[in-house]
Amino acid sequence: MQDGKAAGPLSGIRVADFSVHAAGPFAGLMLAELGAQVIKVESSARLDITRRPHTMYGKPPSSFEQVNANKLSVTLNLKEPRAVELALELVRISHLVLENFRPGVMERLGLGFDRLQEVNENVFMVSVSSNGQTGPEKGYAGYAPMFAAAGGLGHLTGYADGPPVELRHAMDHTGGLMGAFCAVAALCGKTQAPLPSPLDCRPAGSGRQVGGGGLHLDVAVRDIATAFIGPALLDFAMNGREQSAQGNGNGAATPHGVYRCAGKDAWVSIAVTSETEWQGLRRALGNPDWAGDSSFGDGYQRWLHREELETRLEEWTRQRTPGEVTETLQREGVAAFPSLAADQLMADPHLAARESFPEVTHPEKGRQRGVGPPWRFSATPARLDGWTPLLGEDNERVFHGLLGMPLDELRALQAAKVVW
């Protein structure tokens, strides 16, 4: 829509994003990449982690910045009653509200779901939390690795003979991804009629709504970690078996691992799951004598002799770069790919061809690249086209422009540390 470009799929949707840190804001990022107008509500009274020097790492972590890209920023000091009123004004003109405080905090702030419905009966609120909004552990503190730990995914991650392994931002962000999915599905549910039928997406109070009522969606990231190991839990339900971590392995598939290549900390992943692929691997290796040995004669034999097989395979990969191994194996239909570091990803020709790292303008640092949306829509493109706003950068645009507040009142509220 802007600059004559086609609008994203969620064009016309407005989101009031009260979330902090990583999991909740990532939901906002996804919605913003999909074309929604996402307004991040934050405050100088309690800066989000992206805005302050990290207590353990020292400096403001620029690496966390992308999670608030593509958004607008307003400041509201929610300890002030007038700021809470303004937050409710924002909710009144929004379709979605995001938050990821501990359960009960939004109520304490005067922004519980019941209150939000009083000002906007059609609003959807998405709450992303460690353990959910109910239950005996709802108040427990948590960060990404703890969701994965209690949810069971952590136990299944690690070397077979080693301790479990922490899953970090990817786990947090998956919580946001799930929250965004539920939120958009709920928006679709606004119309109960068969497709295609028009959906009025104007804010409450300004127009017709098809299907009434809002919803409070409760997304527990721990439950996501559990949902991702559903088959392992069925193994327990069926057989009483406790699955454990298998490194880079997958059941009996052999070879199935990550192997050292020529170069510093250079590795390639190789997965062979069928006889056809095994024959492809043999050809790729140049049909060495050892591969024809009867101890590798079928899938079961290869699994029994997997250590010897993997040693042989690694002797071969060690003499080649990950890229060479990948090309040679892929030519024979064998699944192989390098384990890529960030600099290799950013220099990768495939990702370059797909323009996976679009350039955006940072309000202070100038042009820089970010990670683009993970979809290509042929008609309603998703895009990363704005970087993280400065704190309160859009106060005037939102409070004056959208809510109609006179500018002198806005200045006064800023001076009084309400809009702050």
Binding site: L177, C188, G214, N239, V258, S356, P373
Partner: protein, 410 residues
């Protein structure tokens, strides 16, 4: 939590949405499962000979392989109807076109070369249904130099940058020479499926909000889905010029700690949490605020003490005592403990599902709900179970179906 006048519920958000899924294993089927759990009518298309290859992977009850009892298949295909269709056959491809003509969404995991060979082509399918949403979740997306590269979950996870950064903490200290590691449970594929599902509902929303909108293609690359949730090292490089590796991306204090009966995770990122931790430890001299604030200098010393102290207590004791004092600690639960978790049990997260061959089993439920309303799970389909029903809706009689089966089409 919901008001009485609320007209929609989470499990009917996608009611009326007709989805055709042509996908195997994890990513595409998880996308279909998510859509089905919110009320979409998902028809899963399987090859008449053997069906989804997940049916041949375990776990199986008693470890006895059976196409109707694979835990992988049963879990990933809840809520769907199932039909058989041979897309290698020209008549089969025409049948798919008829199915697509009646559908809102087609979801596939087939890579470009295979997709074209099977007639899973957006142009071909949209001839009969211009408003169709055609979504593909593939390892590297629908175009680009690697678009047809073969890849399983292991390869996709390592292709997205996160694999190169695992393990860390205790596992890395124990095995510093070993290969980088993929997350367990095929996490990358679940994430790919979830990302595709978000793309699908966004495209559906776009169509709903504009009645004149045509259909469209949604190309979802699983590699990019990994990058999207794992953008942190990309930003560290772009903004600070630092290439992260396993040794740099590491919590200096806490992380994975041994307990007397397993492991727990400890993360104290805020000063008040260190103070709570010091209280839990009963204020030893190695746990002072100055030391916590200088993890570069004291991290190794603190962690050596923490590992020793924690290994004298059970996971459950550390979890309950720690949380009661405001220390972020969580246990690494093994499957039996996950299954018995009081939090998830009390919230009704596990749902009993009855299946005619596999029997009654508790399944992990959807990780979202509204109030106490958790979307109910419906069992996965048997191979070809809904042929009569689904093809009947297209106007085929039972006699036609016998013919099609004899010709190897269904």
């Amino acid at each position: 939590m919901m008001t009485s006048k609320a007209a929609i519920s989470i499990d009917s958000a996608l009611t009326g949405l007709r989805v055709v899924e042509v996908a195997d294993l994890v990513a595409g089927p998880y996308c279909g499962k998510l859509l089905a759990s919110l009320g979409a009518e998902v028809v899963k298309v399987e090859h008449p000979l053997g069906g989804d290859s997940a049916r041949r992977q375990g776990p199986f009850p008693g470890d006895a392989p059976h196409p109707e009892t694979s835990g992988l298949f049963l879990y990933l295909n809840t809520g769907k109807r199932g039909i058989t269709l041979n897309l290698e056959d020209a008549q089969g491809r025409l049948l798919l076109k008829k199915l697509a003509a009646q559908a809102d969404v087609v979801v596939t995991d087939r890579q470009p070369r295979e997709k074209d060979a099977l007639g899973l082509d957006a142009d071909f399918l949209t001839e009969a249904n211009p408003s169709l949403i055609f979504a593909a979740a593939t390892p590297f997306g629908g175009w680009g130099p690697y678009a047809d590269y073969r890849a399983y979950d292991l390869n996709v996870f390592h292709a997205g940058g996160e694999g190169y950064l695992l393990p860390n903490g205790l596992a890395l200290d124990t095995f510093p020479e070993r290969a980088p590691l993929a997350a367990g449970g095929q996490m990358g594929s679940y994430q790919g499926g979830l990302t595709a599902a978000l793309g699908v509902v966004a495209a559906v929303y776009a169509r709903l909000s504009d009645p004149n909108a045509p259909g469209q293609q949604v190309d979802c690359s699983m590699q990019e889905a990994q990058l999207s949730v794992g953008y942190v090292p990309i930003q560290r490089l772009e903004a600070e010029g630092i290439v992260e590796d396993r040794f740099s991306r590491y919590f200096r204090v806490g992380g994975v700690l041994p307990a007397s009966d397993g492991y727990v995770e400890l993360l104290t990122l805020e000063p008040r949490q260190w103070e709570s931790l010091a209280a839990l430890l009963d204020y030893p001299e190695w746990a002072t605020a100055e030391k916590f604030q200088n993890p570069g200098q004291y991290g190794a010393e603190i962690n050596a003490h923490l590992r020793e102290w924690f290994s004298g207590h059970s996971k459950e004791w550390l979890y309950r005592e720690g949380q009661a004092k405001g220390v972020p600690i969580a246990p690494y639960y093994a499957p039996a403990e996950v299954f018995g978790s009081q939090q998830q049990r009390q919230r009704g997260f596990y749902q009993e599902v009855e299946h005619p061959v596999a029997g009654r089993l508790d399944y992990a439920g959807p990780p979202f709900r509204s109030g106490d309303a958790l979307p109910p799970l419906r069992r996965a389909p048997l191979l070809g179970e809904h042929n009569r029903e689904v093809y009947g809706e297209l106007g085929y009689s039972p006699i036609d179906l016998v013919e099609l089966a004899r010709a190897g089409v269904i």
